[in-house]
């Protein structure tokens, strides 16, 4: 009998355990087990309400009355219309405070229920005032290191070619506007004497020569200082050879903005003869043809000079930006046409002949030709870069944004957006959604 009583005690204990377990094992109602994701619904609703910036406008509205024709009245109607009938909401706007105390200050709230039912979730959305302009601060190329100078050839005493419709000076100004925020120093080289000065290793106003970028805005022509014109009067292709040597010495990046690089030398004060023209009515220049780029690369590669007029380009037709270039278009907000026509694409054979490697392809290569790329000269066996060449073999007339984009893509300076949380410029909208009804 005693065992039966003991078993009854055991049953009582088990029953108590079951009751206790059932009491603490509170299973949620089905609507809470498998609910709508109110957080995401809230977020997508806020995005939709702000798709035409109406939510931003209402958040900064000084009149917070909810009337039929007010901004808040519209928000309220749109909220009610866009949410499922069983979803209730509470939308609250906070101002972002950059001073002492609370981070967010309550501004306004609208709701269609006193409480948010049995389950609720919320999401936040930052809106910006429509009368605020956000700036970006670019990182400077060469900042904190030896370099960061941009030279733009703006010589008034030379003529350009294949820049038809522009002048070198107008292109220089455009490049200055586009690129100067990204360089430590931007120097406009105003005449041939200044060009001679930097070629002779003297800075113009204390800038750093080493690792500079030189943009030749004269298209297929290059300004030649009078002293060098005299010195190389028997063979003007020796001048690009000198440019190649200087590029190597100072680790410059030489940028050719259009066409066949270094095809002519120009000096309007020196080339004054009746035959000193390019054959197309532009005086003050001498054609050196394909010898120019070959001589430049010989100088860059420290080879012995030899006048070599052999052609190194091909007309490859329509070319397209690489995906990386398109990405940098978006990053820097520079949008030249991604389709261009190239009639002076440089041959791949140059890379092996002059120890060049492609550092950045601006355009997709076509066969054995590169319509636009930045080449690094790398000394055999060392791995050190000693001079670079940006060659855009596009047809006339030039779009200097491509040059700017190419340089930015190569150096890729970062851009820093300004603060978004300045007082009065940003507000936080919190939309809390709940399911109507009890449990």
């Amino acid at each position: 009998m005693i065992r039966t009583v003991e078993v009854l005690f055991v049953i009582l204990i088990l029953g108590g355990a079951f009751i206790a377990t059932s009491y603490f094992t509170v299973l949620p109602p089905p609507r809470e087990v498998s609910p709508i994701n109110l957080g995401r619904l809230s977020f997508t609703t806020l995005q939709m309400l702000d798709s035409s910036y109406d939510l931003s406008k209402a958040a900064f509205e000084t009149d917070n009355s909810v009337t039929a024709n007010s901004s808040w009245g519209g928000v309220q109607v749109a909220l009610a219309a866009s949410l499922p009938p069983n979803v209730i909401y509470n939308l609250t706007v906070y101002d972002v405070n950059d001073g002492e105390g609370e981070i967010y200050d309550y501004v306004h709230s609208i709701s269609n229920a006193q409480s948010l039912g049995i389950a609720s979730d919320a999401s936040t959305y930052a809106v910006a005032s429509s009368n605020v302009t956000f700036n970006v601060t670019p990182e400077k190329i060469g900042e904190g290191s030896n370099g960061g100078t941009l030279y733009i050839l703006n010589c008034s005493d030379a003529n350009g070619w294949w820049i038809t419709g522009y002048t070198a000076q107008s292109l220089a100004q455009d490049l200055y506007n586009l690129l100067s925020p990204y360089f430590v120093n931007t120097v406009m080289v105003q005449n041939k004497n200044q060009l001679a000065q930097i070629l002779n290793g003297s800075s113009l106003r204390g800038e750093t020569l080493q690792n500079a970028v030189l943009i030749n805005t004269f298209g297929e022509a290059v300004p030649i200082p009078t002293s060098y014109a005299n010195q190389y009067s028997s063979d003007y292709a020796r001048y690009p050879y000198l440019l190649g040597q200087k590029t190597r010495t100072y680790n410059w990046t030489w940028a050719s903005i259009v066409g066949y690089p270094l095809y002519y030398v120009s000096n309007t004060g020196y080339f004054t003869g009746a035959n000193d023209h390019n054959g197309w009515g532009i005086f003050g220049m001498k054609q050196i043809a394909g010898s120019g780029i070959n001589a430049f690369l010989q100088g860059l590669d420290s080879q012995i000079y030899q006048n070599n007029p052999a052609g190194v380009t091909s007309s490859v037709g329509v070319v397209t930006f690489t995906t990386q270039t398109i990405g940098y278009c978006n990053y820097y907000g520079v949008y030249p046409a991604s389709y261009q026509t190239s009639t002076r694409a440089l041959s791949n054979a140059l890379q092996q002949s002059y120890h060049l490697t492609i550092a950045f392809n601006i355009f997709n290569p076509v066969g054995n030709y590169n319509p636009g790329a930045i080449y690094n000269h790398v000394v055999a066996g060392s791995g050190n870069i000693t001079g670079s060449l940006l060659a855009l073999g596009l047809t006339r007339t030039p779009d200097v944004r491509v040059t700017g984009l190419g340089l930015l893509s190569y150096y890729h300076p970062r851009i820093y957006p300004s603060e978004y949380t300045a007082k009065g410029t940003s507000r936080i909208v919190v939309l809390q959604l709940g399911l109507a009804g009890g449990s």
């Binding site: 049953i11 994701n37 009938p85």
Partner: protein, 412 residues
């Protein structure tokens, strides 16, 4: 000694029975708990899947404008981010709720949002439920149904009784509430019944605002006979980021034949303008019928007016003939790569006029689409919703998800 043995046996029997009973009790509680856990996991899965579909353009990212097979399923517009869906990818979803139409050896989907507006996409170039399940990696584990439903319903009703003038009322409502004080932009397309060989049309546009009940009566079109003339009305409604569109098409009752636009290629943007009698399985018995048609394309501008785009191609207008040995029963045209509305006006040999509209891009005419399996009869179906835009028009994307691996239902 014997009583002790009996006591032992009785107590043991009671103990065993009690143990079995309590095992039953506890296992029931545990089963319920496990089922709830699974349902909760299903809910999380539904949310993840829905975001995966809406926040990915799929593979390739332009599959909505391609005739090729897909490698990944997603509906996001590849040129934008967030919950902004491609106008074209949803057109390629095989509807699970509407019967297909048959034409010339091919079955076509059959989307519509009312009389006069049709979207027929070829099955062989569309994406079906099993393919989508497969590329999402849920084939054999989960079933789903995805619905894209316009958030705003623009209901147009002809309120004039007979003859001229013609007048409409417009009622605008969202899924939860009517859309009071919303801006309305309407375009009235009236066929020029002037005897031209290929009928053209004129557009009359206007703007107004709904009243506090979301309704408005549009100004009457005084010179238009509401019964005998062919016309269409397209109405856009917008308020604080919410945008909706509705349409109304009327053709005279005496018109017995019509044209059917069928998508031939998404990639080439080619549309077949087919004679109604040649569509169906089997087609109508041959009895010669001719229709002169004229096609044009309209796009929605930023100020919610319609801009007409000329289809500068030889087949933009012409004749389609059914039941005759010499004439073609269809014509092929190409539409631009913008989303917009293809308008086909036509007339028969007895000078009865008509028109049909076809959206190029799902949102252009706020067509709904339902894609996927049937949740009816499933143990537990979980649902999730997002607000999205398709071609600038507000939609709600709803995903219903269920497990098809066969676990038991909740025991209560």
């Amino acid at each position: 000694m014997a009583s002790a043995g009996i006591d032992h046996m009785i107590s043991l029997t009671i103990f065993m029975v009690a143990i079995l009973v309590f095992i039953g009790f506890f296992s029931q509680t545990m089963q319920t708990g496990i089922a709830y856990e699974r349902h909760s996991a299903l809910s999380t899965k539904a949310s993840d899947l829905l975001d995966g579909i809406l926040l990915s353009p799929g593979i390739p990212d332009n599959w909505g404008q391609s005739d090729n097979k897909i490698g990944g399923f997603g509906l996001q517009d590849p040129e934008f981010n967030n919950y902004r869906l491609s106008s074209f990818s949803p057109m390629k979803l095989t509807s699970s709720t509407q019967s297909p139409v048959y034409y010339n050896g091919t079955y076509y989907g059959n989307l519509t949002a009312g009389f006069g507006g049709y979207l027929h996409a070829p099955y062989e170039k569309s994406v079906d439920y099993s393919t989508a399940s497969e590329v999402m990696g849920i084939n054999g584990t989960y079933g789903f149904r995805l619905s894209l439903t316009p958030t705003i319903t623009v209901l147009i009703e002809k309120i004039s009784t007979t003859g001229a003038p013609l007048q409409f009322s417009v009622d605008v409502a969202g899924t939860g509430f009517l859309l009071s004080n919303s801006a309305i932009s309407y375009s009235f397309l009236l066929i020029n019944q002037d005897g031209s060989e290929y009928p053209s049309y004129a557009i009359v546009s206007g703007t107004t605002t709904t009243d506090s009940s979301g309704s408005i009566e549009l100004p009457a079109f005084s010179a238009v006979d509401g019964e005998s003339q062919a016309y269409a009305l397209i109405v856009y409604s917008y308020l604080n980021g919410l945008k909706g569109v509705g349409y109304y098409v009327h053709v005279p009752p005496s018109l017995t034949k019509t044209v059917v636009p069928l998508i031939d290629s998404f990639q080439n943007r080619s549309i077949l303008i087919a004679h109604e009698d040649s569509v169906g399985e089997p087609p109508m018995p041959p009895s010669s019928s001719e229709l002169n048609y004229n096609t044009s394309f309209i796009i929605l501008t930023e100020d919610y007016t319609l801009r007409q785009v000329q289809l500068d191609q030889p087949t933009a207008f012409g004749q389609i003939v059914y039941g005759s040995g010499s004439g073609q029963d269809n014509a092929s045209i190409n539409v631009p790569d913008n989303d917009g509305i293809l308008i086909v006006t036509f007339k028969d040999t007895s000078s009865q006029y008509g028109l049909v509209l076809m959206p190029w891009g799902l949102g252009s005419m706020a067509f709904p689409v339902t894609f996927g399996g049937d949740p009816a009869g499933q143990d537990w179906v979980t649902t999730d919703i997002r607000q999205v835009t398709v071609g600038g028009i507000s939609y709600q994307a709803k995903l219903e998800l269920w497990n098809i691996q066969g676990y038991s239902r909740v025991v209560k």
